[in-house]
Symmetry: D5
Subunit: 91 residues, 10 copies
């Protein structure tokens, strides 16, 4: 079951660089892990913004919420979730 997700990252510019580097590194590791598990099949950067559009493929709303809140950057994310259905013109 697919969900469209927009994430905007709001890291304060004056965040301690070591804290920031650690957060970003752990975020990347988690993103790779979730892609490899197949639950985060699509991920694009929005040009000019520290933000992404993503597609998640999960079996329930609860699973999706658990995945999103497991992201190390979650406290700094503004997330907007949109449920997707099959499009009748999709080949």
């Amino acid at each position: 079951m697919l969900f469209h997700v927009r994430m905007d990252v709001n890291l304060p510019p004056d965040l301690d660089p070591a804290v920031r580097a650690d957060l970003v590194s752990r975020e990347k590791a988690r993103a790779v892990e979730l892609q490899e598990k197949g639950v985060w099949p699509q991920l694009w950067r929005i040009v000019g913004e520290y933000a992404n559009f993503s597609i998640f493929d999960v079996s329930s709303n609860d699973e999706l919420h658990d995945l999103l809140t497991s992201l190390p950057l979650f406290p700094y994310l503004k997330i907007q979730v949109t449920p997707l259905a099959t499009h009748p013109s999709k080949i």
Copy 2:
């Protein structure tokens, strides 16, 4: 799996009264049918508006989309769907 849905009904004031009555009557019948099936467990009128907040309980996004587009009033509805997860403080 639960979804929060807001529906705003935009029937033009100059709609033919017979067409309107037929639409509203068929909408009510469909709403009753979906409640009886257990997929539309909650339904409230928003005070002062021709709008409702609803809870749907379905097994997939596709099922929810099919249910919502099956409503006779669908062409006149503005619908906003929000996926719900279990709240950690829910007893």
Copy 3:
């Protein structure tokens, strides 16, 4: 008398972890207490957000305001209240 409430929690990411843990723990205790009293019958997490949709069942506006401002997280909450009426198609 039912009210629809959306609460968005805005805890600063740099809040002292002990203060945060205490706030969240007291919030949960209060949420359980109000559910047990029957005034907070429904409570859902919005997927991907630190936010909830709730239904409150109270006998007056004043009672609702007192309940909401009694929440330990109140200073960090953005709350939007919508009064609900019986829907004519509700079975």
Copy 4:
């Protein structure tokens, strides 16, 4: 129990003048009736707009919804209801 209500009237400029006059006249009669019953204690015109701020005094959300939908202009109104509580500094 008090509610703050904003009503914006959207009558199409090309509405038949007789229909319009009838609607406005019946709206006024209903507004007078509800004021005399004590349920619509305050009513002000917003300067420069075909809109009003009102205070309603009712015993339930359902009563308020019934009153608002009983207004002859209801199909042309955009209504926003805000529940009010006693202010702690009110003398």
Copy 5:
């Protein structure tokens, strides 16, 4: 001459409790004083928010501005003023 005023209070959650208590206490005293003078005849709390709807009765725009900026909480208030006129259906 009547004005509708919405005030939203934005006190930072980490404000020194003594400073906060002093501000709130002086605000209340000033609110009482202005009500007793008859210039602030109506004052309601918006349910679930640290905000109010108020009616002011003053003889000029300058007088209203002076009153609002005299409030001890003014630096923390977001204020929106709407001039009111007599409603033709008011009894």
Copy 6:
């Protein structure tokens, strides 16, 4: 007493040209009349829009509302009124 007013004119493009010409001509005559009376001292076109910023000088909110609703284009206007006070830096 001064008020800042923004007016946006929404004449439908397919309005009968004679009706339109009559409306615009009567609007202009009324605008001239109100300027000559001194109640509409300032009036500017917003570049690229069928809209204006205006300053009205009236003795009460009711007088302003009567003036604005007396405009022949009133049914086609979106009007936003802002009360003005003396600026402390005005020479």
Copy 7:
């Protein structure tokens, strides 16, 4: 080069059913054709709305504009285009 596109379809409810059926049928044929050419690789229905999220894969902005305006439903579409870049965490 990838672009994220949101399309909202605004077909008037009173559109002639034959005109509507023809439009929708030609839209579907064109959507299939563009998918087969590989320029419209992803296409999802937004649950509860007559809208879609799409991914287009084109070699230039001009090509994308030509594709979008070639859609039979174009006069009824509200389209929002967002350019996408490679995400650094994409595997």
Copy 8:
């Protein structure tokens, strides 16, 4: 003196095709004429929309307003004008 202008074209889908063709043809002729005069030096289509971003180079606000209202499509345009200044980093 430069101005940034966004124009959104709102032609009703059911406009008579001959009227539409005439409008669009006259608009194009006028756009060419203004470019040749040097007052409309830049003009781009916004991808996926019936809209443009433009740069106008005029000697006064009045001249710009006259140019914009001289466009045959003006009654169907939503126009937003932003004055531009020299950027300190411009080479």
Copy 9:
């Protein structure tokens, strides 16, 4: 050439009082100076807000930008500029 300007002042409530007093005093001096030069002919306080509506009379966009950025409060201002043209009904 006239421009309509709205300025909203956002001074942090916890700004050092001496810094604040100095800023406000220098802002006032600059405002007086620009009024005396004739480039800032109108200036009104918006009732209930730390904001103003102003009219500037300058010979170019660059001059206006230089004037606005010369204001001591500029780093704390949200400024919105609207170019004005002569209104055809102005007497």
Copy 10:
């Protein structure tokens, strides 16, 4: 391939002046460099705002994203990118 970019600079007023001067100086150097390379052909200041409208000319979305995130001020920028196509009336 052209893109329209709006950048709003949000430097905190209390930023260390030396840090600020360094950021602004490096930003200017980078802006000059990108203009000289031909990828940033247009750049205008928005009157009254610490913001600009720009045109970028790049060969791909990825190139544009790399350029924008290479700006020294990037952590303080709100950026909005709009892809541009050739306008049919452009001479």
